[in-house]
């Protein structure tokens, strides 16, 4: 699982930071978290194949979070895409998608489906699931968790050998959950395979004030990507405009017990984001403002 920070700025772009979009590279597909203007150009400069994007998760319908959609959708069509694309988002998403599909002269070569979600909705996507939760912004806004399914426990070579089973076809059958017979003894998978191991979990807040629904969603996530539009000296503004300070984001990271915090939606006023990093790190050491086009690999937990 790999995160690619395509755009980490908020409100409008600066030369330093594009507006919000983060790609999540899964085993054989890519999810996009928001899709601000210029996302397609950022994708061209990244290691992500933009044709592999299966779902785009829109947090809310402010322009800096979705204006990259029409260009990206059209470029995928120009490049011969045939696979369905799903755009997920809060109420209003279906209307927005319909509008952007009808801008100017354009016939799409594949199906674009919109799906409106409410807080608490869960999508089972096979190897992973998507959960939507309420974010606390000035307009209806969703935070998302992406969580891989629980994996099989670790196979214990030692235990298998102690039972007298040598490496070979029986190992595969046990790993597939089958009970096998070995020299007259029935060996069950749980004799040689450990506890199921959890998958990886990423939570993205979109634009939000510090709030408990996001903290709950982020519980024990490997990575939390949180709104950090302002530094603490502008906390009043953060509350007024439905955003968080870097310190508040770090407080959520601590309360939710996450592994790592990325601060995004940085206001264009910050040419230098070190002030934001500094105040977050004081609260939660593993905090950082990702550079544009930087990548982060989330290893499988043991």
């Amino acid at each position: 699982m790999r995160l690619i920070f395509l755009g980490t700025g908020g409100t409008y772009p600066s030369m330093k930071r594009g507006v919000t979009s983060i790609a999540v590279q899964l085993r054989s597909e890519v999810l996009l978290l928001d899709c601000g203007e210029c996302t397609q150009r950022q994708l061209m400069g990244s290691s992500v194949s933009f044709m592999k994007i299966s779902r785009i998760l829109i947090s809310h319908l402010h322009a800096d979070h979705f204006l990259g959609l029409p260009g990206l959708i059209q470029s995928m069509s120009l490049n011969g895409r045939e696979d369905k694309l799903v755009v997920l988002g809060p109420e209003g998403t279906a209307d927005m998608v319909e509008s952007i599909m009808n801008l100017g002269h354009f016939d799409c070569g594949y199906e674009v489906v919109s799906q409106e979600l409410a807080p608490g909705d869960y999508i089972d996507a096979g190897t992973y699931g998507i959960t939507a939760a309420n974010a606390d912004h000035t307009v209806p806004s969703l935070a998302y968790s992406i969580e891989e399914r629980t994996r099989l426990g670790r196979f214990s070579l030692d235990k298998a050998l102690a039972l007298g089973i040598q490496p070979g076809p029986l190992y595969s059958r046990l790993q597939c959950g089958e009970t096998v017979e070995h020299k007259g003894i029935m060996v069950h998978p749980e004799h040689v395979i450990g506890e199921p191991r959890r998958g990886r979990k990423v939570v993205y807040t979109g634009d939000t004030r510090k709030c408990s629904s996001v903290t709950d969603l982020a519980r024990a996530a490997d990575v939390l990507i949180h709104d950090a539009t302002f530094d603490s000296s502008l906390e009043e503004q953060a509350v007024k405009y439905g955003h968080s300070t870097a310190r508040q984001a770090a407080e959520v990271a601590v309360e939710a017990g996450v592994g790592r915090l990325f601060l995004v939606h940085i206001s264009p006023r910050y040419d230098d984001s070190s002030r934001l990093t500094a105040e977050a790190v004081e609260v939660f050491a593993k905090s950082m403002v990702p550079d544009e086009l930087s990548e982060y690999v989330i290893d499988l937990p043991d």
Copy 2:
């Protein structure tokens, strides 16, 4: 008069070239020729004040020519713009503008007016005029000329002195077109002021095949900015998709007798545009592919 090449690529962006937008800096206002996605970010990195944009001229309603509008319009509003903004374009422009003003949650703090033009339409903008002409593309498409008004002729100090008039208030009055009396002689402005001098003229084709309506519009322009999507080996494709080759653009430049040719709407297939430049220069020496964010000053003609 200054041109700023914000985006010079066609169809979809590459890392090297953004899609089309060119700013024309006039004395106290800026015109934008097309407004592809990412134009606002490019403006942030240029010397142009994006708040000074008075009119945006859209050539046609393919996404790579107008998808930068909603983001730019919204960012102007977030930055406190109060002045009216006019979006000009071919049929369909009014619908497109209405759609983009209604995307997501957005209240615009100033007036955005759309104005649909037909080939031959002329807009008198005071110190300059805009003429629309038919371009030959796959959808309704306009080429534009921007031409400054004729300026007063040059004041001849020699002639004034020969008439015995010394530098002073009479000079200003003559330059304002007044007939003055000097030592009993009536001096008319034409006695000391030369022939009116033409203003500067820029022509932008948008997407087009080589065609006579564009050549006619471009007659004697200081600068022609012409579609040059392909090189000559792809001439069939150029015809099929309603574009020009670099050579064809140069032929138009020669036939129209322009001062300088800029080749734009470069296909993303060209990492290196030297092939396009080379074939244009063979036909018309003053041809070039402008670099992104490069600027070109058009001096006043004598």
